[in-house]
């Protein structure tokens, strides 16, 4: 009886889905939204990278949600692991048990500013080349990680990380609210658009991507620092 009921239900659902699908026309061009994006982003917003225009301007509210999700994840990791870390009373928490070899240290010293520069390049040029705030932030966090695993004495101040992160989030939200004041909708582009394919173009898009880059970079750096600071002898207890 039960199996028969399930079968009848499945048959009904399948019939309904088929009748809905029968109304969908085949072989017609239905992609009106993407056409709108492709036409509008170089012409009005003056942004060469259409993906950036969609992520930051047309779907900017979703990006704010994504940044918030990332912030919640970082806060969750911090709240779980922070208690274990605070057991240590010493100023220098026991992050690494041995020092890295001097070749790795010298390489880290040379490459650390270059990696930070590359991350800044990726998020400053977010509207011209592939990439943007998230990728640039991940690159910056990787640079900090290289320094963290090479040097025992190098440490990241958590107060600085929190300040940078909060300021970047505030800049994002304030720019969105200014869009309401000047243009009528959230994240409306109220600055002059500039010229296509130049660095200062696209209005607020570049500024928002710089803010997102700082926010993601500081959050991921905080997560990696928290993960590294759990000492090994504490685990064995």
């Amino acid at each position: 009886m039960k199996k028969l009921l399930i079968f009848a239900l499945l048959l009904f659902i399948g019939f309904e889905i088929l009748t809905v699908l029968a109304d969908v026309p085949f072989g017609e061009d239905r992609m009106n939204v993407s056409k709108f994006y492709l036409e509008k982003s170089p012409a009005e917003l003056k942004v060469a990278n259409v993906v950036t225009a969609i992520v930051v301007n047309f779907r900017g509210f979703d990006t704010l949600g994504e940044v918030t999700v990332l912030f919640l994840a970082a806060a969750g990791i911090g709240s779980i692991l922070y208690r274990r870390r605070s057991v240590h009373t010493g100023l220098n928490p026991k992050r690494t048990s041995t020092e890295a070899s001097s070749i790795v240290q010298a390489g880290a010293k040379v490459l650390f500013p270059l990696i930070l520069l590359l991350g800044a390049y990726v998020f400053v040029h977010g509207h011209l080349t592939p990439g943007g705030g998230f990728q640039g932030g991940a690159i910056i966090a990787t640079g900090f990680l290289l320094k963290l695993i090479s040097y025992r004495k190098f440490s990241v101040k958590h107060s600085t990380v929190t300040w940078v992160e909060s300021l970047a989030g505030i800049v994002f939200v304030v720019l969105g609210l200014l869009g309401i004041v000047y243009g009528g909708t959230f994240l409306e582009n109220f600055l002059p658009a500039g010229e296509l394919n130049s660095l200062i173009s696209g209005g607020v898009i570049g500024i928002i991507y710089v803010a997102v880059g700082f926010k993601v970079g500081s959050e991921l750096t905080g997560v990696l620092d928290t993960l590294l600071n759990i000492s090994q002898d504490e685990e064995t207890q």
Binding site: A100, S101, I103, V104, G107, V110, L111, L114
Partner: protein, 126 residues
């Protein structure tokens, strides 16, 4: 210009051959350390010369050629720093992980150097 173009083709060919030789070394060598040395040296030279060759070719082919050349030069510099560094760290990590080198005469110069250093430190303490 034509000289640069032929030089670029030569560099690309050399780079591809060295990449292949590096992969062959990784495939054929008997233990980890020999594999690391085959992979690092051959594939660093191969990748560097191939990328430099493509950069020179782009410099000749495209009309504003210099941005292409500069970007490929940056990649070449990064490859030249990064690949030896990571291979060194990997070999050291594997040695500290007690991976035995493949050799018929068990000569371990690294251990001897460590022992000598310890002896010197003890003598200094005395």
């Amino acid at each position: 210009m034509i000289v640069i173009e032929y030089l670029a083709y030569f560099l690309i060919t050399v780079g591809a051959l060295f990449l292949f030789l590096g992969a062959l070394g990784i495939f054929r060598m008997p233990d980890l350390y020999t594999r690391i040395q085959a992979g690092t040296k051959a594939s660093t030279l191969g990748a560097m010369s191939l990328i430099l060759g493509v950069g020179l070719l782009g410099f000749v082919t495209f009309t504003p050629g210099y941005p292409w050349l500069i970007k490929t030069l940056v990649i070449v510099i990064f490859v030249a720093i990064a690949n030896p560094l990571s291979s060194h760290a990997l070999a050291r990590g594997a040695y500290k992980d007690k991976l035995i080198p493949f050799s018929k005469e068990h000569i371990d110069a690294y251990e001897e150097a460590d022992n000598n250093k310890e002896k010197e430190q003890k003598e200094d303490a005395k």
